[in-house]
């Protein structure tokens, strides 16, 4: 089975090619092709997973890698670079997660990408999105990219798929950035928001990717290879730890930090998190698939893949792991606080995603490899579930603004139920999935931070994560009460609301099942440590010298307590007295803190770009100019720099060229003048002199024969005289 694993990304890629070149005129066939592609990929992925489980711990010790010699090679001097794929337990379980979620989301999209509208006669219509087939092409390409990344056996291949996902992310965030005449499924304001959100996403991740790119190059230079089984040998890692960039700074530290930048960009960690909330302009299945479950977790997957390198860096006492842990924990806290003060149903979830990714990164930073990767898997299920049910809500009510929702559990009971399942999983209430993985991270941090040898970094991480967990429970409760309870605050939206078709809610049910149960694969308090044994004992053949944290009832109690407190506070503020139409958010009593959170700590104003509907009635018109797009200070600086460069180019660089040309012409003029006056003048002088002589001479040219004769005789006499004198 493993030797056929390369087919897993091929199927969706094939679907992409088929749709783009042949099937794009037929929406149904295109959608079915996409679903078929991912279904086949899923079959093979499940096969790989079962075989991997069958091999047990052996596979972790000896990951299997394959290459296609002769096909894709990169000749570099005498070395040659091969393309290949590699299966280890982490890849196997991630394949399972990705294909399952992809399949559900693909099916869901069949329904989601249809828009209902009511025409002038009051007739109800359901039409496909004008670019329905294109959507399925893009998500198929994306799935191919993600699956390819998971099985990549070397870093360059991983980077290739990494960027293909970035491309798809860009295309799909901007999916509603174009509008042809006669299309009414979106308004002009949406196109403006979507296009700038797409550019923001691509360029922000590009910044991280460029640094990651440098990391790849340095790794290639110093390890002479990028293939995982080759670079993750004791010998190569030792070499990287021994060679130094600067005295006291081994290359392994530098490379690990550079690679971390890739994670920070892709997994939306502080300070490159700014793109993810705006990425919500894309269709909701995209938010669920790319911006919650798969692509953004690829950054975490990257650290997990490169874990031996990070461990080696930690052994050299470089501050790598501490940086990873603090970036993750800070992001978790930072994003969770912003999530409290957002009104857009998807943006709350987006900040939640950033925050949860921070949990995973922090977990890897404190060397809790099992916990981090476990959270990656569980989070993917419940966050995809949350997004898709939020999408069902948006599809039903036609707005993203929670202030215009309320009471929807009556209209959309299935959606409300599965959303609450997802929210409980996220908040960390046992026995739902999020509890097990989050508890494991907190437990590990607590153990390191407050155990026998307290580590200040780990204790800081624990405190930040604990507060973040509290905020998580709080904002999820706020969201549930604002959306599903109380009364409909917007009469029109409430009337419009309807339960989704089965093609949309059935995938939700499947995901809800996983969100509730997937945690049991590593329920350590119950003595189940299947996942830990399977994934966590060896990392790419290197023995992971991480000790298992014994189950700590204190921490588990604490983490449940934190979650319950958050829920209770949320209930107090939003559940007891549900908001009525026109009522203000009770959190506004926080004053300036509220403003700060509401505006996301003004990071966009600093170095990103603000993309927002203008407040007030202007925002309702749907016109392009109702969107406020304001570049941050850094962007304004770059724009200014570019203008300065061009002005310099025109004035100075080209100015010099034109100056030389002008000098040349001036010289030519001068030389022409000299030519005319002196050189030509001399010539003319000869002429003038001749003329003058002629003028003088013509006086004697009288025309009288006797005068000529006289002259001739005189001349002849003179000649004769001269002749005789000379003789």
């Amino acid at each position: 089975m493993f030797n056929l694993a390369f087919l897993i990304p091929i199927f969706p890629l094939l679907a992409f090619v088929l749709i783009v070149f042949f099937l794009n005129r037929n929406n149904r066939v295109s959608a079915l092709t996409a679903v078929g592609g991912i279904l086949l990929a899923g079959v093979f992925s499940y096969g790989v997973l079962f075989e991997a489980i069958g091999r047990g711990g052996e596979l972790a010790k000896h990951p299997e890698s394959f290459s296609l010699p002769g096909f894709f090679t990169l000749p570099t001097g005498k070395e040659t670079f091969f393309v290949g794929w590699m299966i280890d337990p982490l890849a196997a379980i991630t394949l399972f997660m990705v294909t399952t979620i992809c399949l559900m989301i693909f099916i869901y999209s069949i329904g989601y990408m249809q828009h209902s509208h009511t025409d002038a006669q009051g007739q109800h219509h359901v039409t496909d999105d004008p670019r329905y087939a294109r959507f399925f092409a893009y998500i198929s390409l994306f799935a191919g990219g993600m699956l390819g990344l998971v099985i990549s056996s070397n870093l360059i291949e991983l980077f290739l798929f990494w960027e293909i996902m970035g491309l798809c992310s860009y295309l799909l965030i901007g999916f509603w950035s174009v509008r042809a005449p006669g299309e009414h499924h979106i308004d002009d304001a949406q196109t403006v928001r979507a296009k700038f959100a797409a550019i923001k996403a691509f360029l922000t991740t590009r910044v991280g990717d460029s640094v990651f790119f440098i990391g790849i190059i340095f790794l290639y230079i110093h390890a002479h290879d990028l293939t995982f089984p080759v670079i993750f040998t004791e010998e190569t890692l030792h070499h990287l730890a021994k060679t130094e960039m600067l005295p006291g700074v081994p290359w392994v530290t530098v490379i690990a930090l550079l690679i971390l930048a890739g994670t920070i960009g892709k997994s939306a960690q502080f300070p490159l998190h700014i793109w993810l909330p705006d990425a919500m302009e894309g269709p909701t299945p995209v938010s669920a698939l790319i911006h919650a479950a798969t692509m953004v977790s690829a950054g975490v997957y990257l650290i997990a893949r490169m874990f031996p390198l990070f461990l080696t860096a930690a052994e050299t006492h470089g501050p790598v792991m501490q940086v990873v842990a603090l970036v993750g924990a800070f992001t978790a806290l930072f994003a969770a606080t912003i999530g409290i003060a957002q009104d857009d149903i998807k943006r709350v979830l987006a900040y939640s995603t950033i925050s949860q990714l921070g949990f995973m990164v922090a977990a890897l930073g404190i060397e809790a490899y099992t916990a981090g990767t476990f959270h990656l898997i569980t989070h993917a299920f419940f966050k995809a579930l949350l997004f898709l049910s939020a999408g069902a809500v948006i599809h039903g009510v036609g707005t993203n603004d929670m202030m215009n929702m309320g009471g929807l559990r009556k209209k959309m009971p299935i959606t409300a139920t599965v959303f609450i399942v997802g929210a409980i999983a996220l908040a960390g209430i046992p026995p739902f999935a999020g509890f097990w993985s989050k508890d494991e991270i907190l437990g590990h941090a607590f153990e390191l931070g407050f155990g026998e040898h307290p580590d200040p970094v780990a204790s800081a991480v624990f405190v930040m994560l604990a507060i973040a967990a509290f905020c998580t429970a709080f904002y999820m409760t706020r969201q549930i009460f604002l959306t599903f309870f109380g009364e409909g605050r917007d009469h029109h939206a409430f009337e419009h609301a309807h339960e989704s078709p089965v093609v949309m809610w059935a995938p939700l049910a499947v995901l809800a099942f996983f969100a509730a149960t997937i945690g049991f694969i590593n329920a350590t308090p119950l003595g189940i440590d299947f996942f830990g044994k399977f994934v966590g004992e060896y990392v790419l053949g290197i023995k992971a010298h991480m000790e298992h944290t014994p189950f700590n009832p204190l921490v588990a109690g604490m983490s449940v307590g934190i979650a319950l407190t958050g829920i209770a506070l949320g209930y107090l503020l939003y559940g007891l007295r549900p908001l009525k139409h026109g009522q203000r958010d009770p959190l506004m009593v926080l004053g300036p803190v509220w403003t700060l959170l509401r505006n996301k700590y003004f990071m966009d104003e600093l170095y990103g770009v603000v993309i927002a509907q203008k407040a007030g009635p202007a925002g309702k018109t749907g016109k392009a100019d109702s969107v406020r797009v304001q570049p941050g200070l850094l962007l304004m600086f770059v724009g200014w720099l570019s203008e300065v460069c061009y002005a310099f180019d025109k004035a100075i660089v080209d100015g010099m060229v034109n100056l030389v040309a002008a000098l040349g012409r001036a010289l030519a003029t001068v030389s022409g003048w000299i030519d005319k006056t002196f050189v030509d003048g001399a010539v003319n002088l000869v002429g003038v002199v001749t003329e003058e002589i002629g003028d003088g001479l013509k006086l004697i040219q009288t025309g009288r024969v006797q005068n000529y004769l006289l002259l001739a005789v005189t001349g002849a006499t003179i000649c004769v005289l001269v002749f005789f004198l000379i003789r």
Binding site: F72, L74, P130, L160, F202, F213, I221, S642, D649
Partner: protein
């Protein structure tokens, strides 16, 4: 033995003569067009047969060599040959010529005979430069290529973009550089001659004899004289300002050839002449050249970002992209402890980048031209929403743009990766600065090109009104799709299967660098 290369160079020349001889008649224009297109397929077929049929990529020596004495008094020889550096460029020249002629046959409507004559003559010049192994011959072809391009810009250029100013600027600027080169050529000839033997113009002999090996001042002078001639052609900052003017004014096919091939003459010359003949001088000045390259990369991207004209923006992006080529070459010969393999990667990347830039930017100029033909404007602010209105055009522009900004899976990435992989080994600071160019380049293309042209809502009212002026924004028609399809295919092919071309290049880079003592 078939004199393949002579045949290759002679074919377009014969074609050009035949174009002149086609009798005047009512059908003459279409006869000329079709004859030129079909005739230009022959050099492409020959070049393809040579590269994929006869050429042995494992051999680093010159192949299909031809030698004959031309002017024995000064030892000028008719010496032709190709290797892994010139073979891909020869092939690309023949390909882009076919595509340009084909595209022009639909879009050029005046002075047909002169246009196709000039174009075939241009092909002679370009092919001649790439296959010449004698500096004298090289120089003849070098100047020969200049003249037709001058006329193409001046006569068929866009009237509102100062074609005369731009063409003269292009001509004089290049010529000014060539004069320095000519002096250096003569100096090398004299230096290699002695009381009893004649000097040489032969590249291979010059590389073996290393003129001015013991005269550092003269070596440096000769190096810079030739370097400036090539740097103007590339163009390297600060010699680049002729490029935006020439590109903006030139007709579409002229821009394609200018960007696709003529710029490569500069970088080709640097690798062909300066690396093997003046390795010491090059090495000593590599840092300065690397700095100029880094400036070109960052500054080119920033200056492109400030453009409001689509074509001018693409022209400035060439300054950025050709900067990578120079960076790769400079890094390959720079002082440092790097191994030959590391250097070979940089040189591989630089040579591949030449080819890729020809494919990608060639395609982009076609794409700009197609839009201009429809809209009669290139102002980026005029467009918007075309991605929905003309989706095939949008898809092609999107692919070419992403290839240009170095998306993995498309051609540009492979060469950029290799350039940086090599350059970080010897010039890590300059390379780090140059990485900024990748970010700015992406910003420039996404923000200025795709966002302004393809995204947003299509302004139906405005374009409806323009229809009364004969402006119709319809999607690509067949001849346009045929023109760009081969280039798009190459972008994807090289992006996923680079060894198809890298095997040819790699042998050569390794050989060139192994011959140098570091």
């Amino acid at each position: 033995m078939v004199p393949w290369l002579s045949l290759l160079v002679a074919l377009p020349l014969i074609g050009a003569v035949i174009v002149l001889l086609i009798p005047k008649s009512a059908q003459a224009d279409s006869q000329i067009k079709w004859f030129a297109i079909i005739w230009s397929l022959v050099p492409l077929a020959v070049a393809s047969f040579l590269w994929f049929g006869l050429y042995n990529p494992a051999v680093s020596k010159m192949q299909f060599e031809e030698t004959a004495m031309w002017i024995s008094a000064i030892n000028v020889r008719y010496h032709l040959g190709v290797d892994g550096l010139s073979m891909p460029l020869v092939w690309l020249t023949t390909l882009l010529t076919v595509l340009s002629l084909y595209y022009s046959s639909f879009t050029i409507h005046e002075r047909i005979r002169e246009f196709f004559f000039m174009f075939l003559l241009l092909e002679v010049g370009m092919l001649g430069v790439f296959v010449s192994l004698d500096f004298f011959l090289f120089y003849v072809f070098w100047e020969l290529g200049l003249v037709p391009m001058y006329f193409l810009i001046a006569i068929w250029g866009h009237k509102e973009d100062r074609p005369l100013y731009s063409s003269i600027k292009f001509f004089l600027y290049t010529l000014a550089g060539s004069v320095f080169m000519l002096l250096a050529i003569i100096a090398m000839y004299i230096n290699t001659s002695s009381a009893t033997t004649l000097g040489t113009f032969d590249f291979i002999e010059l590389a073996a004899k290393k003129p001015f090996a013991n005269d550092w001042t003269f070596q440096t002078l000769a190096f810079w004289a030739i370097f400036i001639a090539f740097a103007i052609k590339v163009p390297l900052f600060p010699f680049h300002t002729w490029l935006p003017d020439a590109h903006t004014a030139a007709p579409t096919a002229g821009s394609v050839i200018l960007a696709g091939i003529l710029l490569k003459l500069g970088t080709y010359g640097i690798v062909r002449v300066l690396v093997p003949i003046f390795p010491q001088a090059f090495q000593a000045n590599a840092t300065i050249i690397g700095i100029l390259a880094a400036i070109s990369i960052v500054y080119g991207a920033l200056a492109a970002m400030a453009q409001t004209d689509f074509k001018r923006l693409i022209a400035y992006s060439s300054v950025n992209h050709m900067g990578y080529v120079i960076l790769g070459i400079a890094a390959a010969v720079a002082v440092g402890a790097a191994k030959v393999d590391d250097r070979a990667i940089a040189l591989n990347g630089a040579i591949l980048q030449m080819f890729n830039h020809g494919v990608i930017t060639g395609a982009l100029f076609f794409i700009v031209g197609m839009l201009y033909e429809r809209a009669h404007t290139r102002a980026l602010a005029e467009f918007g929403g075309l991605g929905a209105k003309i989706p095939v055009y949008g898809a092609i522009l999107l692919t070419a743009t992403f290839a240009s900004l170095g998306l993995p899976g498309l051609a540009g990435f492979i060469s950029e990766f290799m350039v940086f992989r090599g350059a970080f080994a010897t010039m890590s600071v300059l390379s780090t600065i140059s990485v900024l160019g990748i970010v700015f380049g992406a910003a420039m293309l996404l923000w200025k090109v795709i966002q302004k042209v393809l995204l947003g809502a299509f302004d139906d009212a405005k374009w409806k009104e323009k229809e009364s002026h004969g402006i119709h924004l319809n999607d690509l028609v067949r001849f346009e799709a045929i023109t760009v399809a081969p280039l798009i295919f190459l972008m994807v092919l090289i992006g996923v299967y680079p060894s198809v071309i890298l095997n040819t290049i790699n042998t050569l880079s390794t050989a060139i660098l192994s011959a140098i003592k570091f």
